[in-house]
């Protein structure tokens, strides 16, 4: 934090006056001013001026002020762009390859529709980076991708990190719709796991075969090199586990792999609604947790129950947590609101902010680029009408790579709405 301010000051003293504000909407050079800049490290910088050039943050000036009448962007509050590791902007069944239940080689990068209006909605809700994953209808669905929610018409150009995680699921979703084969299999659903035990068996077989392939190439299978990378901890292992029994399965698998000296996976449990039930399991195994959106009455996916203080319980035990929105269906379920709901359950503001910015960035190793407002990082910035996550506050401005996605200037709001 202090380092951030110092480097900002140095740069600011050097060249601030030369920065003219005369630009088109397409520009990505801006002076962004806020009465309060909320860092995710516990600090608030008053009257902060953030300079954006070439899509990057080049200076942070505390105690600055925006000259009136220029083209600066200004708002009451400023935070880094939010990051959702479970945004679930997918193409339905086109986002899962159903040929095999174990499909670690599939890249979700090849099943993305950038023209889905959900991308724009997500970007305008203040979420600037998401982790896109295969749908959880396979046991191992494939490789997730970290990408920006707005920008060029190119998955490649929007990508922050290709092959960010290996994605899979434990629970009832990967066994849904499947049925046993009588005689020869008649369709692709007639040979897949039909129970949680079957799902667990698939996981264990995939992991042990991949581990065995180190010495015996004949044990390798399509995409097993990615499972191997996940065992080695080079690739985060992101598993959907709604309920306690599935969280247990994932943790026990991780511990088994470590006990057998087959590797040391970096485990991210996504949609772990019941993580509050046996939190010591997560402390012990050093698993990271992505929480699903808070349900209105507690009951949520796959019959699981999520307590209102789930985020607080995990935070107090220093379990790394991130919040997620599972899409932008309604204003009440978007990511900023999830942070507010986590706070209602007892999570401190700074932890809530971290859980939608720097914490998810660290989980998948993209914190060198995004997750906080820091000199040298991508200019992914959210401007707020008031204190972030308050019910009365809303996102009024969004920059992604320095490009305006939502213009906070009242008279230009519609012009930038593209």
């Amino acid at each position: 934090m202090s380092q951030m301010i110092t480097s900002g000051l140095l740069l600011a003293l050097g060249c601030l006056p030369a920065f003219a504000q005369d630009k088109q909407e397409s520009s990505n050079d801006w002076n962004v001013f806020a009465e309060e800049l909320y860092t995710a490290d516990g600090g608030v910088i008053k009257n902060a001026l953030v300079r954006v050039q070439g899509g990057k943050i080049v200076a942070i000036v505390p105690g600055g002020s925006a000259a009136s009448g220029d083209d600066s962007l200004r708002a009451a509050g400023m935070t880094a762009g939010m990051i959702d590791l479970s945004a679930r902007i997918d193409m339905g069944f086109a986002s899962v390859e159903q040929e095999h239940e174990i499909s670690p080689g599939m890249r979700i990068a090849d099943s993305i529709d950038l023209f889905d209006p959900e991308w724009t909605r997500t970007a305008k809700s203040g979420v600037t980076t998401v982790l896109a994953n295969p749908r959880d209808d396979d046991v191992i669905g494939g490789l997730g991708l970290a990408l920006k929610t707005a920008g060029a018409n190119s998955v490649v150009e929007r990508t922050l990190k290709a092959d960010a995680v290996l994605r899979g699921a434990i629970g009832t979703q990967p066994s849904q719709r499947n049925h046993p084969a009588f005689g020869s299999p008649s369709d692709i659903f007639s040979r897949r796991p039909t129970t949680r035990m079957g799902v667990e068996w698939e996981w264990r077989k995939a992991m042990y075969d991949a581990a065995a392939s180190r010495a015996d190439k004949s044990r390798a299978y399509q995409g097993s090199e990615h499972v191997l990378a996940a065992l080695d901890g080079k690739l985060a292992l992101c598993i959907q586990t709604w309920s306690t029994q599935d969280i247990r399965t994932a943790v026990f698998l991780k511990e088994e792999i470590e006990r057998e000296k087959l590797g040391s996976p970096r485990l991210i449990l996504d949609a772990a609604a019941e993580a509050w039930k046996e939190p010591q399991l997560l402390v012990r195994s050093k698993a990271m947790v992505v929480l699903p959106p808070f349900p209105l009455q507690g009951r949520t996916g796959e019959g699981s129950f999520m307590a209102h203080d789930t985020a607080k319980v995990l935070h107090d035990l220093k379990v790394p947590i991130a919040l997620s929105a599972h899409g932008t269906g309604a204003a009440e379920t978007r990511l900023d609101r999830q942070a507010g709901l986590a706070m209602r359950g007892g999570l401190p503001f700074e932890a809530a902010l971290a859980a939608v910015t720097i914490a998810p960035a660290r989980m998948i190793g993209i914190d060198d680029r995004v997750g906080s407002i820091e000199v040298g990082k991508d200019a992914d910035i959210v401007l707020w009408s008031g204190v972030p996550f308050e019910l009365t506050s809303r996102v009024v401005g969004v920059l992604i790579d320095g490009r305006l996605v939502l213009d906070p200037r009242p008279d230009k709001n519609s012009a930038a709405a593209k």
Partner: protein, 359 residues
């Protein structure tokens, strides 16, 4: 056949050897966008022998005057309806060695109708329901002669090629299968990688177009995107990829958004052409499409290239047809006036220097 020529051009002198013909038209539309006033075409042995402002005519050949325009024959860069139900094989996702040149019906009514509408060259493509449908072929519609047996490998990255009963079931599965085939580097896939065989990728939605572009760019593939009415909204990205575009023809009911997308292709300098797949529409829609583009404001040169030279290049037969140029096949059309004016009549069709009997 010659008798017919004489009835139209009563003043024609005796023809020397096998079909020598010299015509001076009010305008020669060369097919690459250029127009020559009072240009002369000299045709001999089925080829253009000379195209220019003046030509030394062989002795005994009289110059016929045509009070209208001459264009090359239209080249339509995609057609699958000629094949009917034969265009798709539902049993497998991949048929890389299948060749449409062996499968089409030379007596198909569609070919005859196309010829009579001035579409002298047509690319036949397998249907879009197979990830790898097979090899396209170029035919001359008059007489259904195969001009080129193997023009592209037809791929389909549209949702039409994804079925729940036959893998791959998803776009990422499809890309994965194709990447593995390319890595295997055998058969036609080796030809793709080496740049010897272009692809023709069927894509409909814009995200399918983007996926196709990224797939082609990643693997250094050449070829075209076909079937996406809004491809032009990604004109810059397509331009960058080096691919070209085949559009389906417009009919009266198409939205201006699609027309504007076509315009964007022309503005960005993306080579494009029209196919003939519009259901319930005859080959005349090609001219209608051109007129609609013109009305929307498309650059006329770009439009003429799309109908002739670029279409031929996209089909892989740019050295044979698509332009009025010395050495190319003498496929040309005689018009009563401006060919893109819908009130002009198509008066005569020549294929390989021989007038087509349209009666």
């Amino acid at each position: 056949m010659l008798a017919l020529v004489f009835t139209v051009f009563a003043a024609l002198s005796p023809v020397q050897g096998s079909g020598t013909l010299a015509i001076q038209a009010k305008t020669l539309h060369l097919g690459d966008g250029r127009v020559l006033e009072k240009g002369i075409l000299l045709v001999q042995d089925g080829k253009f022998r000379a195209v220019g402002a003046g030509a030394d005519l062989p002795p005994g050949v009289r110059l016929i005057q045509h009070e209208g325009a001459i264009t090359p024959g239209f080249v339509a860069a995609h057609d699958q309806h000629t094949l009917g139900e034969e265009a798709a094989d539902g049993t497998r996702a991949m048929l890389p060695e299948a060749s449409i040149a062996d499968a089409f019906d030379p007596k198909a009514k569609e070919l005859r109708l196309a010829a009579r509408a001035g579409v002298t060259t047509l690319l036949l493509a397998p249907g879009a329901s197979n990830l790898v449908g097979g090899q396209t072929a170029v035919v001359k519609t008059a007489g259904a002669r195969v001009l080129q047996r193997k023009s592209h490998l037809a791929l389909s990255l549209s949702s039409e090629a994804l079925r729940l009963d036959t893998p791959p079931t998803s776009p990422m599965g499809a890309i994965n299968v194709l990447q593995e085939e390319l890595a295997g580097n055998a058969g036609v896939f080796a030809e793709l990688k080496a740049g010897r065989l272009p692809v023709m990728i069927h894509a409909v939605e814009r995200h399918e177009v983007l996926r196709s572009l990224e797939f082609a760019t990643r693997n250094g593939l050449k070829g075209s995107i076909e079937g996406a009415p809004l491809a032009g909204e990604l004109a810059d990205e397509i331009k960058q990829s080096g691919l070209s575009v085949v559009l389906q023809p417009f009919s009266g009911g198409d939205s201006r958004r699609e027309l504007r997308a076509a315009l964007a292709l022309a503005t960005a300098g993306v080579p494009f052409a029209f196919g003939l797949d519009a259901p319930n529409a005859g080959p005349q829609v090609l001219r209608l499409s051109a007129a609609m583009c013109l009305r929307e404001g498309m650059d006329r040169k770009a439009l003429e290239k799309a109908l002739f030279a670029d279409a031929a290049t996209i089909c892989g037969v740019g050295d044979r047809v698509g332009r009025l140029e010395r050495g190319l096949d003498a496929d040309f059309l005689l018009w009563s006036g401006d060919p893109l004016d819908l009130t002009s009549r198509l008066q005569a069709i020549y294929v390989d220097g021989v007038r087509l009997d349209t009666h």
